[in-house]
Symmetry: C2
Subunit: 325 residues, 2 copies
């Protein structure tokens, strides 16, 4: 939350992100500012062991987005990837509902080996990003295992069981983040937020994408205490999620699937809510958070760049106004 103006116009922009909306937003941001100015703090609550490999879906999406490798068609995995190993796994009688592409496998094999050799998830993430010539910083929210658990009438599911296997068609009673209380933010995360020029909560699911990040002790405080302005891009447009189960999951937390609900998720730390122009006028300005409207639905590369540019513009204007007031 901003207290004073940030004079330097070339500082780092920290993005808290998870899911496909977050990856698209980061793709836009990397078009409009130098990638070396971007730090992504990424949800790892969706991580899973699959076929014996450590898979970090949100770290992968951001990594592929920044390496120009992200599949446009699917929004996850590697562009133009094949699924021959998956087909062979199916023949082997192995569950194959979570799909790993052949090129994608290289990332999981590499990560799993680095972790087995004693590296932290931060180090493994950095090494993979370095090999793929990524200039932005990518940091997991924590090096500890924090697992998003989805409570259903028939028992708990991992996030991927709920999201991919059940296609989020099962009723949800609640969400918890196993291991969160004992976890620490990954090295550098709190510092990046403290020293940022701006912090942006990507248009990601507030419950299961940004939620796990904020559940890591110290992270919410870092966002409250930073001198940088904190903005969130709403993932809710016209009372529904742009994609995925955000609306349903928000309701399980007692939050309306609306701008008010998004605002309430972040009320203690937000300066600025950036909402879709289709919702113009419906923002809860009363809560002391400024609301700005633009097109937030990202279909093309131009949409992504335009949204990033608009968000940076709103942030700049907000700083000027804050300094003047």
């Amino acid at each position: 939350m901003s207290g004073s103006r940030q004079a330097d116009g070339h500082g780092r922009v920290v993005v808290l992100t998870g899911g496909t909306g977050g990856a698209k937003f980061v793709q836009g941001l990397a078009q409009v500012i130098a990638p070396r100015r971007i730090t992504c703090v990424v949800n790892t609550g969706d991580d899973l062991m699959w076929w014996g490999l450590h898979v970090s879906p949100d770290l992968d999406s951001i990594t592929y987005a920044l390496a120009g490798m992200l599949s446009r068609e699917r929004g996850w995995g590697v562009e133009a990837d094949t699924f021959h190993c998956l087909q062979a796994m199916r023949r082997m009688g192995t569950p194959a509902w979570f799909q790993l592409g052949d090129r994608d496998l290289a990332t999981h094999l590499t990560r799993t080996q680095l972790l087995a050799a004693g590296k932290t998830l931060s180090e493994a993430t950095q090494e993979i990003a370095h090999e793929l010539r990524i200039e932005a910083e990518i940091r997991p929210m924590s090096d500890a295992r924090v697992e998003t658990r989805v409570l259903t009438p028939d028992g708990e599911l991992s996030f991927q069981e709920y999201f991919v296997r059940e296609r989020f068609q099962v009723p949800v009673r609640g969400v918890r983040f196993e291991g969160a209380k004992k976890a620490c933010p990954a090295p550098g995360v709190v510092e990046s937020i403290a020293r940022a020029q701006a912090v942006i909560l990507a248009p990601s699911n507030p419950v299961t994408s940004v939620g796990p990040i904020l559940a890591v002790p110290g992270l919410r405080e870092a966002l409250r205490n930073t001198r940088a302005p904190v903005a969130a891009v709403s993932p809710i447009v016209g009372g529904a999620a742009v994609s995925g189960p955000a609306a349903e999951l928000m309701k399980t937390q007692g939050l309306p699937a609306s701008l008010a609900g998004v605002t309430r998720s972040y009320t203690d730390l937000l300066d600025l809510l950036i909402a879709d122009e289709r919702d113009a006028g419906s923002g809860p300005e009363s809560e002391g958070i400024a609301v700005r409207y633009t097109n937030t639905v990202m279909k093309s590369d131009a949409d992504k760049a335009a949204l990033a540019r608009a968000v940076l513009g709103f942030l700049r204007k907000h700083e000027v106004e804050a300094a003047a007031s």
Copy 2:
């Protein structure tokens, strides 16, 4: 080594095998007798950890051969496989000289997971064979780690470093089998040999394919003591190996690259040597081992079946003669 005649014509045929020659021979055998009558005892001295996965090249070749999946073009790996993961591993800066195909990866992922879950290599091998609807028995020579080490002037190499990475172009001073002395034969191996109708040493490299099998304590004795006739198909034709470095490696063991050298590798346990017709008359009959000649070079499926049929015919005739004498 045979002592008395085996009356039952429907017993099991045990094949000791490794490498591409062995896989081809087994493909032939499965054409001419019911696969459920075949037991393969397979070299695991070439096994390696690669990309964090437990790879058993000779078990894989036999498995793919019996599942009708073995690449005809390459002689290893899966027919018509792609190498997209390998390309991505290369981009990741990972050594990629040992090639794993995308479909092939499913086997290594499955084996690695089964071993991590506490299964033995025998159990993992059986489970994979079962999933691939293989009726023949495939047994590793041992569940313990036995590693073929190749001694060169610049130090020791693993077999795959020597064979694949260096393309067997480095001078060799010797070969040793690390872990062999403490290893036991895998469950069922000694029993299969004892109860076999016939035992065949496939046309595999006597030093690094059959050699590691015979180095497992108890295996050589099992072959000496079995009542079944023991035949070897020579991998040497016209003083050279049909493929690979067998000739060079035999020389490092003080063995000539000839029928005499092959015979000397197996002299204590062999009843019958089956050699190529190009070498007709050059067999060392004097050592008390009968030598028979046929075409041993397997180019087509018909060649493979013809060789298997010829070997079984020689074995049958040998039994009749042994019983009559």
